[in-house]
């Protein structure tokens, strides 16, 4: 029996000396409090949600789902979440590029790393307000563009349905990029240096080097990041839309998303049954993501620190 690096000597237990055998229920004791909270917050909610979605005027019915799915606004909201998902590859590619650049250790890379991660720390309401000001048609961003003679690029970023959702996507990317950069960079830093040395000695320059050596190292992390960001685009964008469009969902329906739809239906239009049906639908979609996440975790767990 090897001595532990830090030997901790325990005071003798006053009870008689025996090997305590954890009963079969001991782990339950430890897990129970956390489990209770989780079961209430998630379990109770889901059960009640499904119940509400299936009732209308004291009768069990599927009508709520029919009404919800026949609402063009709801379908639009779902497609918009889908369009937000299109941002994920862009996000991943950008994060890869930036993290690789940082990894090269250029002068001032630490400052760049600090700056790139700062947006991730900022609260979304704050970001939403600032960008709301910046992106007005005659706001700062366009003023800058016009000052440089790029008048054609000065669009109504938030006010035109053509741009509104892309603008929203851009703001979300702005914030979420830092997370990916940090993830990838941390992983890269833990890879033994000789892997890259071998490639450099062989004469591989930037793109070859990274394509064939760096990126394969990052596969698991990339996968993790993709899943996390996909979940964000479906389930965690309410704050952006609410703050930047004053809770309206953009010009017309241009920035309507499922979360906002549920919120409006429940709290502004007083139709909890329809909101519940929409919520159950959204949860159904995220179940797919849950299954993917599950699998990714299993893979990462089995693969270990390769």
């Amino acid at each position: 029996m090897t001595a532990a690096p830090e030997t901790v000597s325990l005071p003798r237990s006053p009870r008689r000396r025996r090997l305590p055998r954890p009963g079969r229920f001991e782990p339950v004791l430890w897990i129970a409090p956390a489990l209770a909270v989780v079961v209430f917050v998630f379990g109770y909610s889901m059960v009640e949600l499904v119940k509400t979605s299936l009732r209308y005027e004291a009768a069990w019915t599927f009508e709520n789902f029919h009404v919800t799915w026949s609402d063009p606004t709801f379908r639009t909201a779902l497609t918009h979440n889908g369009r937000l998902l299109l941002a994920v590859p862009v996000l991943v590619a950008s994060a890869l590029l930036v993290s690789v650049l940082l990894f090269e250790g250029l002068l001032g890379w630490r400052f760049h790393r600090w700056a790139v991660f700062l947006p991730f720390v900022l609260p979304i309401p704050v970001i939403g307000v600032i960008f709301g000001q910046l992106l007005q048609f005659n706001g700062l961003a366009n003023q800058l563009l016009r000052a440089f003679g790029l008048d054609g690029l000065a669009q109504d970023w938030l006010g035109q349905p053509r741009w509104a959702l892309w603008t929203m996507t851009g703001v979300i990317i702005w914030k979420e990029l830092g997370f990916g950069v940090i993830l990838f960079l941390a992983r890269l830093l833990s890879v033994p240096a000789d892997m890259f040395e071998a490639g450099r000695i062989d004469g591989a320059r930037f793109f070859r080097l990274h394509r064939f050596i760096t990126i394969p190292q990052l596969t698991n992390v990339i996968l993790f990041y993709v899943v996390v960001e996909a979940i964000t685009m479906v389930s965690w964008v309410f704050n952006y839309v609410y703050v930047m469009t004053n809770g309206q969902g953009g010009p017309g329906d241009a920035t309507q998303v499922t979360e906002l739809y549920i919120y409006q239906t429940a709290f502004q239009y007083q139709s909890p049954e329809i909101a519940a049906a929409a919520a159950v639908s959204l949860f159904g979609v995220t179940l797919v993501l849950i299954a993917t996440f599950f699998r990714v975790q299993r893979r990462a767990g089995l693969a270990g620190d390769a």
């Binding site: 009404v67 609402d71 063009p72 606004t73 992106l135 007005q136 048609f137 005659n138 706001g139 109504d156 970023w157 938030l158 006010g159 035109q160 349905p161 053509r162 469009t245 004053n246 809770g247 309206q248 010009p251 017309g252 329906d253 409006q264 709290f267 502004q268 239009y269 007083q270 139709s271 329809i274």
Partner: protein, 446 residues
């Protein structure tokens, strides 16, 4: 190591203590309130500082005076945000806990909660001899009862114009619709924005619907019937206003950033001299006149198109206060509301905010500002304010949304009208109780 462990333990303990303390304190408070039966605590949730600058100061002053006369009554006020006013109240209504007095815009905004059983009719607690003096009480009346008490009149919504800007451009003040369109062309030629507005937060859509749309109908029941399905929003009477709005867009009457500015930000552009005209709340006229200069500002209703009974008239509605259904002190709440209508209080209200008290006993000799004189004349011969007679969901999904699209050049008048009818069709399906109430309401206007 031990220290860090201790820190964690301490944090956990502190948290536990805080939670327990908060819980105990909450229980103690409620216990205390029950024991002293004489003390009356009223809470009032309201809105209005945003459109009647000075309202907060007046309310504080009024409460102070009231508490002096009734030392056992304490009144607390909470000023809500525009986007939060209704969700906060709906949450309180669901919990059956919250304010004793609540602020409501007139018409549907009052009746919606009356129908939901969230308010007690003020006519049950304020005698008819008093209520009959309140202006625009009709739009808050249903089933023979007046549900909320008008507080101040909201001339909805005058066009404010800058005499200096128009004069410099050599453009006359437009008095009808075709002149308005011509003046847009003339002003644009001189590089001046004709009309300033902001519709990013949606509300301006409801305003435009009301001040342009009212001119096309012959009676309020037209609008109520369109909601219930007896008529349609694609009927010429209902749909004509979209064409008028489209004309404004075609003549480039609006500021080019109308879709990225909020309501009040649009008005500020006008005050900053960047546009010749804007649309503002009547209650706010004094503030804008003071900011821009008395000699420079003129006030008029939306220029006339059409020949309906409301064409060329200014909308008139009153913002109201009501008594919540769960309050323990309905009569005390009603008494405070009546106190708000005392002659000295009304005079002080007008002096502080420049908005007209919704009371025919108001001493109109106090009106000295020329723009307010004009406004008062207009509003006493006013027309109903259309936005108060459609479901809020229709307002948001159709009037707000389609106006945003139309002003951004992304839809046409015909499509907007069709979209409105489509939304209405859906509401007729999903809000059957509301539609039933609308039918009953419409009957009272025929």
């Amino acid at each position: 190591m031990r220290a860090r462990l201790g820190v964690v333990a301490v944090i956990a303990c502190v948290a536990a203590v805080v939670l327990t303390g908060a819980g105990l304190a909450a229980r103690a408070q409620s216990g205390a309130a029950k024991s002293s039966a004489d003390k009356v605590n009223l809470t009032m949730w309201w809105w209005g500082e945003q459109e009647a600058a000075g309202a907060k100061a007046w309310l504080n002053e009024t409460i102070k005076l009231y508490q002096q006369e009734h030392p056992n009554i304490a009144i607390k006020t909470v000023l809500q945000t525009t986007d939060g006013l209704i969700p906060a109240f709906k949450a309180a209504a669901a919990a059956k806990k919250g304010p004793d007095i609540q602020y409501f815009w007139g018409g549907i905004w009052s009746l919606d909660d009356a129908w939901a059983g969230n308010t007690k009719a003020i006519s049950d607690y304020i005698p008819q001899s008093e209520v009959k003096h309140y202006l625009n009480a009709k739009e808050d009346t249903f089933d023979g009862k007046v549900w909320t008490a008008p507080w101040y009149v909201q001339p909805s919504f005058p066009v404010l114009y800058r005499k200096d800007v128009l004069a410099k451009a050599g453009v006359a003040v437009p008095t009808n619709w075709s002149q308005l369109l011509k003046s847009c062309d003339a002003l644009n030629a001189k590089g001046i924005t004709p009309l300033a507005g902001g519709i990013k937060d949606g509300w301006f859509g409801g305003w435009l619907y009301s001040i342009i749309g009212a001119q096309g109908i012959t009676s309020i029941s037209d609008v109520l019937d369109a909601t219930t399905g007896k008529a349609s929003f694609t009927d010429p009477k209902q749909a004509a206003w979209w064409s008028r709005l489209e004309e404004l867009v075609q003549h480039k009457c609006w500021n080019n950033d109308i879709n990225s500015l909020e309501l009040y930000q649009g008005q500020q552009q006008w005050a900053d001299g960047k546009a010749a005209m804007t649309v503002a709340a009547g209650s706010d006229v004094k503030k804008w006149v003071k900011q821009v200069g008395v000699a420079r500002v003129g006030v008029m209703p939306m220029p006339k198109w059409g020949n309906g009974p409301y064409a060329g008239k200014l909308g008139s509605t009153s913002q109201t206060v009501g008594i919540t259904a769960w309050t323990k002190y309905p009569q005390e709440s009603a008494n405070f509301i009546m106190f708000m209508h005392r002659p000295d209080r009304m005079a002080s209200w007008f002096k502080t905010t420049g908005a007209f008290p919704a009371d025919d006993r108001f001493n109109t000799n106090l009106i000295t500002l020329p723009q307010q004189k004009v406004l008062f004349g207009l509003v006493t011969k006013g027309s109903p304010y259309l936005e108060n007679f459609i479901p809020p969901e229709l307002d948001a999904k159709a009037m707000f949304a389609q106006s945003q699209l139309l002003l951004g050049g992304n839809t046409t008048a015909a499509k907007a009208a069709a979209a409105t009818e489509k939304t209405a069709k859906r509401i007729r399906l999903t809000q059957r109780k509301l539609i039933a109430n609308f039918n009953k309401w419409s009957a009272s206007y025929r």
